[in-house]
């Protein structure tokens, strides 16, 4: 176990990894990385390394799970055994079951589910390395995988957390800040629709701090949104090149 640091923000206002209070960790996104999935994306957000893949729209098995008027989304968020400090059993933990649900519910508002009645899509998220904020990075990647599968969406969904460490509201907590900090507020957002599709909170915040945290997280979301669109464009350009060759 690593020791708990006394201070998470130094005198210059910088955090353990040198970031400013409202600064994101480096984010790297790639779309269309897996050949068998209908859509896929890979994200590195800080030291998080996450793969997302989408299969479908396809027939549901078992059939009785399908719905006559809409497409069903299923989602599995899963951590690789080697993604964390202590080896994680591959069997899904209660935390993974809950996160699978909230991630699905964060993505669902973006999808035109009524276009594909009686069918379903499966969204698989694999956390290859975890560094705090995996649910947010998972949503960012999964939304791109859905788009990459050619499924019509109202908007991309992008996610980022804000939180409180020491006595400050800060953007995008990394692992140690998440564990030692005061509060964590993950937010998923559809920028074009001004819609929050995931909101959770752990810890203690005053109402004002909470409002600041939500706003800061949304600012972070908007920055990552630009990277999402960039990654989609890159994929599209490459595909176009391949076709034109």
């Amino acid at each position: 176990m690593s020791e708990k640091p006394e201070k998470l923000i130094d005198k210059k206002g910088l955090r353990l990894d040198g970031r400013k209070i409202d600064e994101l960790r480096p984010v790297k996104i790639e779309v269309g990385v897996l050949s068998n999935a209908d859509g896929s994306a890979y994200i590195e957000h800080g030291k998080n390394k996450i793969l997302a893949a989408v299969f479908g729209p396809r027939e549901m098995h078992p059939k009785h799970l399908s719905l006559p008027d809409r497409m069903v989304l299923r989602c599995r968020y899963h951590m690789a055994p080697f993604s964390v400090q202590e080896r994680k059993s591959p069997a899904p933990s209660r935390r993974e079951v809950e996160l699978s649900k909230v991630i699905r519910e964060a993505l669902e508002p973006a999808v035109f589910v009524e276009y594909y009645p009686r069918s379903g899509i499966d969204i698989f998220v694999e956390v290859l390395q975890a560094d705090g904020g995996t649910r947010c990075a998972s949503i960012t990647a999964a939304a791109l995988a859905i788009a990459d599968a050619g499924i019509p969406m109202r908007d991309l969904v992008v996610a980022c957390a804000a939180g409180k460490i020491d006595d400050k509201v800060v953007l995008d907590l990394m692992d140690t800040e998440d564990k030692v900090g005061v509060a964590d507020v993950p937010v998923a957002f559809m920028p074009n629709l001004n819609a929050v599709t995931l909101l959770q909170m752990d810890g203690i915040l005053t109402p004002d701090e909470f409002e600041s945290a939500v706003n800061l997280a949304i600012e972070g979301c908007k920055k990552i949104y630009a990277l999402q669109k960039e990654a989609l464009k890159t994929k599209y350009m490459n595909t176009k090149e391949e076709v034109e060759e």
């Binding site: 929050v196 810890g203 109402p207």
Partner: protein
């Protein structure tokens, strides 16, 4: 109910809410009638039953000794489990916990944990080796909507009702002594759930309302009015403005609900 009747009724519920009213006569910000009974299961270390309208939740606590977590060697352990007991609804099936019961348990757990409601530092018997483990078992007996608030309230009521055995330590063994002490509690978090229908927020959605809300937001409020846990659920969204509005409503209703615990 046939599907057609259901749809007509759902439209009616929606239209009423749009007009600021509810089918059962409540205002948008009103809870159903709430009853809290504490101490009804004598075998349990603590227990409480909450009736929220027709929604009925029983919570029992048990205290056992166990090992602390490696990163908190001086603290007792809190563990929350929720069972959507099949007699509570035709929609609940026996079997291992599904995502709904796991989410319910984790929301209840987080409300208690993040508000530091249980003074876990006082539950340490021998640092790093032996601590008290508090089991909180949420038992949903009748499902008529808003299980989260009923469960969270019943859990805190049961904890406030929980007695710990007196003990002394001889040769590293825990020896129980006569008498009991109340479980050391530091706060009484209250969870308030709001549903969003169109651009309206409603408090304490019951079963039929739950079927038409876009999304829900469950907000745990501490004794001092601070926010200590939040969970958005459902396949819809909230605007940032609605979120701020929801926290305001939650803080007001929490004061109201917490009074039920002072009986």
């Amino acid at each position: 109910m046939s599907t057609l009747v259901t749809r007509v009724r759902q439209r009616q519920i929606g239209q009423l809410i749009d007009a600021g009213k509810r089918l059962d006569g409540r205002g948008l910000g009103d809870y159903r009638e709430i009853k809290v009974e504490q101490g009804i299961i004598e075998r349990a270390e603590g227990s409480a039953r909450v009736l929220l309208g027709k929604t009925e939740v029983l919570v029992g606590t048990k205290i056992e000794t166990g090992e602390p977590f490696p990163d908190t060697p001086n603290e007792g352990v809190q563990t929350v489990n929720a069972e959507l007991v099949p007699l509570a609804s035709a929609a609940f099936e026996p079997g291992p916990p599904d995502e709904n019961s796991i989410e319910l348990a984790r929301i209840v757990d987080r409300g208690i944990r993040e508000s530091k409601a249980i003074d876990t530092a006082k539950l340490c018997i021998e640092a790093g080796k032996k601590v008290f483990v508090v089991f909180v078992d949420v038992y949903v007996l009748n499902h008529d909507g808003n299980l989260i608030d009923a469960s969270a309230l019943a859990a805190v009521a049961a904890l406030l009702n929980t007695k710990m055995p007196n003990y002394e330590i001889k040769d590293g063994e825990v020896i129980l002594k006569a008498g009991y002490t109340p479980l050391p509690m530091k706060s009484r978090p209250i969870t308030v759930t709001l549903g969003k229908i169109g651009d309206k927020l409603i408090v304490d959605p019951w079963l039929e309302e739950e079927q038409i809300i876009d999304a829900r937001l469950s907000i745990a409020i501490n004794d001092d009015g601070n926010i200590c846990a939040i969970q958005k659920g459902g396949s819809g969204y909230f605007t940032p403005k609605q979120i701020v509005e929801a926290t305001k409503i939650a803080r007001e209703k929490a004061v109201e609900l917490r009074k039920k615990l002072e009986w």
